[in-house]
Assembly symmetry: none
Homo-oligomer: 219 residues x 4
DNA sequence: TATGAATGAGGGTTCATTCAT
DNA sequence: TATGAATGAACCCTCATTCAT
């Protein structure tokens, strides 16, 4: 009798925190920061509203935590990927693009969080995450890898490495942000799944042809 | 501008409607639909809040009107541009990209409205504007133009015209959505103004090299 | 061309006033004074909102006008009825009850206006209409007629004539206010039309048996 | 009463709920559903407006709760009364009428809530309370009791028991709805208190004479 | 007389946050 | 740590009424 009422959701701080964070991610992904409701988060997490404020300062603190929690693996994964390959070559470049595209494909909430960030926070100059350094590291490392490609001769030397990186990242992100739904609403009469693959091939093709040194071009 | 907050209660419905629409555009551009406040809109427009509901059904109706009012010239301009040139050639293609980029540059609120749409409405399947037909017409006409380019031989025949269109549109939109602030936060130590120009050159270069038939490539 | 735009709803004050009054009656009957909307009234009447205030002081003035306009024939009809019969007798008494019941049956909005008045205005001590005198005249005349009946010997002498009047009026009004729908929700499985008739017979029976002198009782 | 506006922010949910419900009852009794203001309710209850929505879905939910809370004892009391007397006789019938009249006299808000219901909700077909069953039970039991009276011989056999019940209920309710203020505005020059008593006597007299079998008539 | 734009005071309701328990 | 009642500032919208035309 003494523990029956207690045992339902008994003291498990870590589980509570995790549940809140997961619920918050779903909420913010679906509605953005402004549209996100703490009430819905608490309900989805199965905790009382007040508990949110034990683990996080306020709605904004919770949002930031979600961003970090969600984007950290994203950046870390890229860092790993960029560091893994010793000698950069053409295949690695293509492979990088494809793996990046695949990552967004497998983590659709990442793309949508980025969309919210572009619309809302980026304009106010708010950094993407509090550990901004990681994001910058990725970019610097990526640019460095491109520069190695230029040194090796298979990437055009007249291009700014940072912009090369940006070019393919933008195309991948944009595709997943618009969910295959071209801004100008096409409906090519094929499966959505195939469309993703077809777009990826198209994009890689155009990108490589645009970026690779003439003598190394695929076609 | 000196007479803006003037003698209200003087009859000028058109001016009122315009003022509301302009104020609403600024508000929704800055805060999105959910974050937009009708109170701020009314204040900025210099009209009582109740008047909004004389001209529009509700907040959503006002938002839709703003979208239409803002995007109509955008689409119409593109239609004109696509129709104007009689014989498509390489220069026209490059010119189109540059003009499109320039348009977004000159109308930054368009890019940001698109950003909100990507984050919020697009996911719910809401069409970009109520006159969806215009948007589709642009896309179809654009694709048709690319196809003419393929027939003329200067655009690669193995590419899907619709995806070619999407490729450069995405790059232009993405740049202006992120306001030059690469998602991965680069700061190349130069003026923002120059950065735009430099990115445009880079993008056009990569795009054309990727898309144009080998024998017509710029370099 | 000069009269085409004019002729639609050209100057016809009386028609406008009438249209407003009719629309207002429907509105107030359906929603009461507080729930009645001037906007709906104007719309139903086919006139702009502002015009209401040319014919009436304000919402309350319009409501009062409706009450008067609706209840005047009601009271005048009763006055006529009470004055018409020269010598009161038992049949006249029964006939009066039946005609009163019938009147409410034929004018359902009267019963509902009374319902609103009971709930809302009566409690605040507001008179039923501005020409309160007519209502009082009806009552006095009715009571006088009952007194004549007492003198003639067919109405019990120990009853207060005013209460006798009230007794049957209340029963008639209550029936039509509750629209046959007993307060305690019965559903006798018969036609609503028949129910009215059956109730009337019942009521008249009980009323006469209760009020008429023993030697004149119908059964 | 001295402690009513006290230390709020002290935990007592039951008291809060009760205070809201009581304040709401007064408000709705005085102004009906449409005219009732949640702001006034909150103020009278001594709670912030937002708290109403912690305990009730919305204004309508609060109204329904008030109806139920107010009418439940009304119906339950009648049920008890009808069940209590084992053998029905003439005195019991008269007693029932008098007790019902007295109940409405002692609970004036019940009569006025009924008045609002007649004017507003009944017409839209809305049930009197959510526990409609109780109301129907009262009616069925009442009719059953009258039927017993018919079997016992002291109630006229030619009358429909359900209508007999309705007859006296209507007279009681109507009197209290119009608060002794006859629809036709009588003012017999006596105290209001006495008037109630005198009307009750009159009504019981007429009713019994009308309903009771000839050989059992009081006079 | 007729019109409908303009006004501003609330109306019901939501919501992030605090706090006693 | 956990709970959910309590708080109050907005928020969107409605509505009776006024007034320039």
């Amino acid at each position: 009798m003494t523990e029956s009422r207690q045992s339902r959701r008994t003291r498990d701080p870590e589980r509570s925190r995790r549940a809140i964070l997961d619920a918050a991610r779903d909420e913010f992904v679906a509605h953005g920061f402004t549209g996100g409701r703490t009430g819905r988060i608490a309900e989805a997490a199965g905790v009382p509203q007040g508990l949110l404020y034990h683990y996080f300062d306020n709605k904004e603190g919770l949002f930031d935590a979600v961003m970090e929690d969600t984007l950290a693996p994203y950046f870390n994964g890229m860092l790993d990927m960029l560091q893994s390959a010793e000698v950069p070559d053409l295949d690695l470049l293509e492979d990088s693009v494809r793996r990046y595209f695949q990552f967004l494909h497998d983590n659709p909430h990442v793309a949508r969080l980025l969309a919210w960030w572009f619309a809302d926070q980026a304009w106010e100059g708010k950094p993407l995450t509090r550990k901004q350094g990681v994001a910058e590291a990725v970019e610097l490392l990526g640019a460095a890898r491109i520069r190695e490609g230029q040194d090796a001769g298979f990437v055009r030397r007249d291009l700014d490495p940072a912009l090369v990186i940006k070019t393919f990242i933008d195309m991948c992100v944009m595709w997943h942000m618009s969910k295959g739904r071209h801004m100008l609403h096409t409906a090519p009469g094929e499966e959505q799944a195939d469309l993703d693959a077809r777009y990826l091939d198209h994009m890689v093709d155009v990108f490589l042809n645009g970026v690779v040194a003439p003598e190394h071009r695929p076609r």
